[in-house]
Symmetry: C2
Subunit: 145 residues, 2 copies
């Protein structure tokens, strides 16, 4: 192996109530690959998202549960059009997400909205005209101008 390894293989979200969290992601239309033993795991593009209990997450991290917060971090989905952002945002709100900011034009030249899942984990849905996406929705950053 050579270091560094500039990648994220797994994003794990600590949740207060796994059934509630799974119901939300199911309402979004997401399908878990594995759902058992107090966790649910979703295949993303070359990585996975896992949901499991906050207490277990804190214990794994070697920290007190009281030390945990949420949201100084954003999980984002970029889309190829503003209409797609609007559709994704409406889809999330209909699934029970908490609205934070409705999609609107933003200072960096794009179009973006924010919502939170039942545990306060923050998602952004955005269109960035300077960030073209591959057909599979994956992102390759353009070089700095």
């Amino acid at each position: 192996m050579t270091l560094p390894q500039q990648r994220i293989t797994l994003v794990s979200l600590g949740v207060a109530d796994l059934d509630r969290a799974c119901a939300f992601y199911a309402a979004l239309g997401w399908s878990p690959t594995v759902q058992a033993d107090g966790m649910a795991c979703y295949q993303l593009q070359g990585q996975a998202l896992m949901l499991f209990g906050r207490a277990a997450l804190a214990e794994d991290q070697g920290r007190a549960e009281a030390e945990l917060g949420t949201g100084a971090m954003t999980l984002a989905q970029n889309y190829t059009t503003r209409d797609d952002v609007d559709a994704a945002y409406a889809h999330a709100i209909a699934a029970g997400a908490r609205a934070l900011t409705a999609p609107e034009p933003v200072f960096w030249g794009g179009y973006s909205g924010y919502f939170a899942d039942p545990d306060g984990h923050v998602w952004e849905v955005a269109h960035n005209p300077c960030w073209p996406l591959a057909a599979d929705g994956s992102l390759t950053l353009p070089e700095a101008p």
Copy 2:
């Protein structure tokens, strides 16, 4: 576009001091694709990681900065061997990461350690013998047994 879109294009970390955060990720050996205008952006595998100020992150999210926490979420890198986990962990600590739990065998049959970046964002380095990785380090979840 068809919904749902089961993917994460961008992970954004709110940081108290961008220079300090960039210095940490540079010490890890990571190279930003773009570093300008109060942010730094790193190409990962089909997605990007962005660092920018906590206040700006809170404003973008439509929330008060006081509402932000860190760490009810883990960003993980899986490796193909325990030795690779040890090397990645030592590399992070040498780069200035805060040690949370040193790599050790864990109940789910793998080997895992945790550290925090300068803003408390938690990273896990792990080997999961049931999760083989592709040559590029990307993950495809096995089906449930």
